[in-house]
């Protein structure tokens, strides 16, 4: 019973950063600028938040600077791919590489391999809601998480509203689906692409802070371990819908939770649980593709 509770808690724990990357990244997806740099932006968020907290002992400042630094990366990405019309995939990969390299560089200069926030007890960051925290199972889901985790789930709803209920959201989708149409009504397409990317960057900054500072109180090299790419896969699987894509993110969280908790019983085989979300996403993409192309009577491939 205890284990089930732990699994539920850990699911929420592990899904949160990915959900944040997902809900931020869908704007870039809908605007047709694929943002592969989610990984690098999250890593930067993690690094800057922990470094700042280390130097200033102020967690809030850390989170703030994390978001800002991720957005700086976002600006670089936007500039290179939208204004300079660079290949988005390569720019994204470059940013990921740079984020990791810069963090590594600073760590070496600091003569350390991790940044540990020894002044911080992460348990203090967790919000324990009275009464709810004592409900079996449900309590583990709803209570005991740090702020950004709550923010991530709330964010699913917020981003849904932004995307489908506001003028801004409509325009982002127009820019992504038919740039000609956007230009014909006088939309500044570059502006919308920039904003879409920056929203993603901002969310990734939060995600990184959640991953490192809030949950672990430390930073080590490359701790994001591909979560940014999982977020991209989740966005694809969910076709950019905030709710569906987040569902895939939660799936990943669940797999991680299972892997961590069942390792006592299964030993190293527990690591295989981590593979489940990857395989599942490939499966989903395949099914989606089959359904989409079911009616396609044209043989062979067509130009985009």
């Amino acid at each position: 019973m205890d284990m089930l509770g732990n699994i539920l808690y850990d699911t929420v724990y592990h899904s949160a950063p990915i959900i944040l990357c997902v809900i931020g990244g869908i704007f870039a997806y809908k605007a047709n600028v694929l943002n592969i740099a989610l990984e690098g932006m999250m890593l930067t968020g993690a690094f800057v938040s922990t470094l700042t907290a280390f130097l200033t002992h102020n967690v809030l400042l850390g989170v703030l600077l994390a978001v800002l630094s991720a957005m700086v990366l976002g600006l670089v990405f936007s500039f290179m791919s939208v204004t300079c019309k660079g290949n988005v995939i390569i720019v994204g990969l470059a940013i990921n590489l740079l984020a990791s390299a810069i963090a590594g560089f600073v760590l070496v200069r600091m003569k350390t391999s991790n940044i540990t926030l020894s002044f911080l007890n992460v348990a203090n960051l967790q919000v324990n809601i009275p009464v709810i925290k004592d409900i079996p199972l449900l309590g583990r889901i709803l209570s005991g998480h740090p702020l950004i985790t709550y923010l991530s789930f709330l964010g699913i709803f917020l981003m849904w509203v932004l995307m489908y209920q506001t003028k801004f959201g409509v325009y982002v989708r127009v820019v992504g689906e038919n740039e000609e149409a956007a230009k014909s009504i006088g939309l500044k397409t570059d502006f919308y692409k920039y904003v879409a990317i920056l929203i993603g960057a901002m969310c990734c900054g939060f995600a990184g802070a959640n991953l490192s500072t809030e949950r672990l109180g430390l930073y080590t090299n490359d701790m994001t371990a591909g979560r940014g790419f999982i977020a991209i896969a989740a966005i694809y699987c969910g076709r950019g819908s905030p709710t569906l894509s987040s569902a895939y993110a939660i799936l990943f969280g669940l797999a991680r939770a299972l892997s961590v908790n069942l390792s006592i019983y299964a030993g190293p085989a527990a690591g295989l649980f981590d593979i489940i979300p990857y395989i599942m996403m490939i499966g989903v993409l395949t099914v989606v593709s089959i359904v989409e192309n079911k009616n396609n009577m044209t043989r062979g491939f067509k130009n985009e």
């Binding site: 390569i90 720019v91 810069i102 560089f105 070496v108 030993g267 690591g271 395989i279 491939f301």
Partner: protein, 360 residues
């Protein structure tokens, strides 16, 4: 026109590198060191001493292969991000086979291990290939996911079934002597370098002079045209991914047999030979000759970074920073040449003015 093309490509590749070095130089200055001295160590020891050069060529060997693996698929607009995973799989099983081989002729032993690596890489690449060719699934996301999945699987295998318990850290058993590539002379260089070179020669012919190369170029430029002229794109996708997987597997196997000798969790280094291959393919403009030169240059950076560690207080990560900057700047120029934007614009304008004129 060809001369112009080549010189344009050179500029496209060299400019980003120079820019990156300049910015890297600024960073080095900022931490109070001398950039020229640092760069001297970086490139001097790795390219301009005999031992250094040979070591560089040694490290370039797997990079040439992964670079080629990516270049051939990129040419057809296929984004095979799974080179890393295919390489790891190839290296892993080459290592396992190499460790459990019965006593036999060393040449045969090496051939078997290399063949295992090639086969593994090829088979693993078939998954995204078939998904794309027959189900139109986007190969980029699939290969990315498969990379992570494969790393986990290999992690599992190397901590469990295939673990070498006599070793102090997680690794598979060391391969037998017959399977190891021996050093030629006092440097680390082995015959594997020549294997990579042979692959380069083959790929050069394939990409530039063969029917497959012609069809690959066509597919990359205009899919519908390729289909309408009977190139059966779905079959070519399988072929190209098979070649790519084979090259990646070969890289992994060779690397295992000439440098690592056992599979560990840091087999491929950071960020990984597959990702390095991507940078090399980009830097080399997706042409085999370019890949060769870029691989050597990149390997020089890598061995050079170790020297920086020894001879200066600049963190060797500066090299990673420079690498990141190179890719970033490459991205922009990349557009000019890969998508032939100059030509496209010219064509459109031609169409428009002729359209407005006599036809539409």
């Amino acid at each position: 026109m060809k001369m112009r093309n080549i010189s344009m490509r050179l500029v496209n590749s060299i400019l980003p590198v120079l820019l990156a070095f300049v910015i890297g130089g600024v960073v080095i200055l900022a931490i109070g060191e001398n950039p020229l001295e640092t760069y001297g160590i970086l490139l001097g020891k790795s390219l301009f001493t005999q031992k250094g050069l040979l070591n560089t060529l040694h490290y370039a060997s797997p990079l040439i292969l992964t670079g080629l693996a990516i270049a051939i698929t990129f040419k057809a607009n296929i984004f095979n991000m799974g080179v890393e995973g295919q390489m790891l799989l190839g290296g892993f099983f080459a290592g396992i086979v190499g460790a459990y081989l019965p006593a036999m002729n060393p040449v045969v032993a090496k051939l078997i291990c290399l063949a295992v690596g090639v086969l593994c890489g090829m088979l693993f690449a078939m998954v995204p290939a078939i998904l794309k060719a027959y189900f139109r699934v986007n190969e980029m996301v699939v290969t990315l996911m498969l990379n992570y999945a494969m790393i986990k699987v290999l992690e599992f295998l190397s901590t469990g079934v295939f673990r070498d318990y006599s070793s102090g850290y997680v690794s598979t058993p060391t391969i037998k002597d017959e399977a190891m590539f021996s050093r030629l002379g006092s440097s680390k260089l082995t015959i594997f370098f020549f294997v990579a070179l042979a692959a380069f020669v083959v790929m050069y012919f394939v990409m530039n002079k063969s029917k497959l190369g012609y069809e690959t170029t066509a597919i990359g430029k205009n899919l519908e045209f390729a289909e309408a002229t009977g190139m059966k794109v779905h079959k070519k996708i399988i072929t190209l991914m098979a070649i790519s997987g084979a090259l990646s597997g070969l890289a992994g196997a060779g690397y295992m047999m000439s440098e690592q000798f056992k599979y560990t969790l840091s087999f491929s280094g950071n960020p990984g030979l597959g990702w390095d291959g991507m940078l090399i393919a980009l830097l080399g403009g997706h042409s085999p000759v370019g890949v060769l030169i870029a691989a050597v240059f990149y390997a020089a950076l890598k061995t050079g970074s170790d020297h920086i560690n020894l001879y200066s207080t600049v963190p060797k990560e500066i090299v990673a920073v420079i690498q990141g900057l190179i890719i970033l700047f490459l991205a922009v120029k990349f557009v000019d040449e890969h998508t032939d934007i100059g030509d496209k614009i010219k064509m459109k304008f031609h169409k428009k003015s002729h359209a407005a004129g006599r036809e539409e």
